[in-house]
């Protein structure tokens, strides 16, 4: 079974996926390119958390 930390990380990705899906359903151009998905994920799962950690 996954640890609590692994579940927390997975939860973060689920939230990121929910936003990605909502934007994608609204504007399907968002869904066509893997590289758009990669860029989005890098922003929300790495850049933003890294920036928040640096600020606080």
């Amino acid at each position: 079974m996954p640890s609590k930390r692994q579940l927390a990380v997975a939860g973060g990705y689920v939230v990121a996926a929910a936003v990605y899906i909502a934007v994608g359903v609204w504007d399907t151009d968002f869904l066509f390119s893997f590289f758009v998905g990669l860029a989005y994920l890098l922003v929300v799962a790495w850049l933003v958390p890294a920036a928040v950690r640096r600020i606080f």
């Binding site: 996954p2 692994q6 990380v9 997975a10 990705y13 990121a16 996926a17 990605y20 899906i21 994608g24 359903v25 399907t28 869904l31 066509f32 893997f34 998905g37 990669l38 994920l41 890098l42 799962a45 790495w46 890294a50």
Partner: protein, 257 residues
């Protein structure tokens, strides 16, 4: 990473021309999208086993990485073989130009990308994708940091080189992106097709039947025999080479002891 690139390789340069794009006052689109995408003349050879093998050999020769070459080959072959599942299929054994096709789901690329997406995510193709998503979730350990650091990072020098430019946390996110993208787009397209636009599901063989699908002609008996001979020869070569390799390995072990 090379497996991902390989899996995109067949459609990388051609899909935009199949669906068509509008630039300024220009509409660029193949006059016969099916022929262009999967046929010959056309770029259908990109969905063949030979194309993957040639590119893999080039990658091996230029980059000197067997891991990259084999991984790319697996990705490209996976795409080419998977596309035999639709009603047009692929010229898997190019330069033999017959289309291997199982007709499980409708090929609708010629209808434009929105109808194509709606059809794909309404038929057996969507079910096939779902199988792999569920399989991926069962194998969740491959997405963990420890698996990435222990098995993936160490197996491919690309990650080490990339790590000189970006931190490990970013590489881990990039590694997870393929599964994230595949799963998220499956959900998003399904919602778009069935909640927003109410396209009907039809997961019967060859479906959905509400879309005007393109079809390849059925194979004749001599063609089927030819395909059987090629596949049989390939399987025989594989097992004989493994047996021979096994014998040599045992001989090498015996000579050492």
């Amino acid at each position: 990473m090379p497996l991902l690139i390989g899996s995109y390789a067949p459609d990388l340069m051609s899909k935009w021309f199949v669906y068509g794009i509008h630039i300024g006052g220009w509409d660029l689109k193949a006059s016969d999208p099916v022929q262009f995408h999967r046929g010959w003349p056309g770029v259908g050879f990109t969905h063949s086993l030979l194309y993957g093998a040639v590119l893999a050999l080039l990658i091996w020769r230029i980059l000197g990485s067997k891991t990259w070459a084999v991984s790319f080959l697996i990705g490209q072959w996976a795409h080419a073989i998977t596309d035999t599942g639709d009603t047009v299929g692929t010229m898997l054994f190019f330069p033999w130009t017959i289309h291997i096709h199982f007709g499980a789901w409708a090929y609708a690329g010629q209808t434009g990308r929105m109808t194509d997406a709606a059809a794909y995510f309404s038929g057996p193709g969507a079910v096939w994708d779902l199988v792999w998503i569920v399989y991926g979730l069962f194998c969740w350990r491959v997405l963990t940091r420890s698996y990435f650091e222990t098995h993936v990072y160490t197996a491919d020098a690309f990650w080490g080189r990339a790590n000189r430019l970006v931190p490990m946390a970013a590489l881990l996110v990039a590694y997870r992106a393929a599964f994230f993208y595949g799963t998220s787009r499956w959900i998003a397209w399904s919602l778009w097709a069935h909640v927003v636009h109410h396209y009907p599901y039809d997961i019967s063989w060859g479906g959905p039947h509400w879309v005007s699908a393109a079809h390849s002609p059925s194979l004749t008996w001599p063609q089927l025999a030819g395909v059987g001979a090629i596949v049989g020869t390939g399987v025989a070569i594989f097992f004989v080479s493994r047996l021979e390799f096994g014998r040599r390995s045992w001989a090498a072990i015996r000579s050492r002891t």
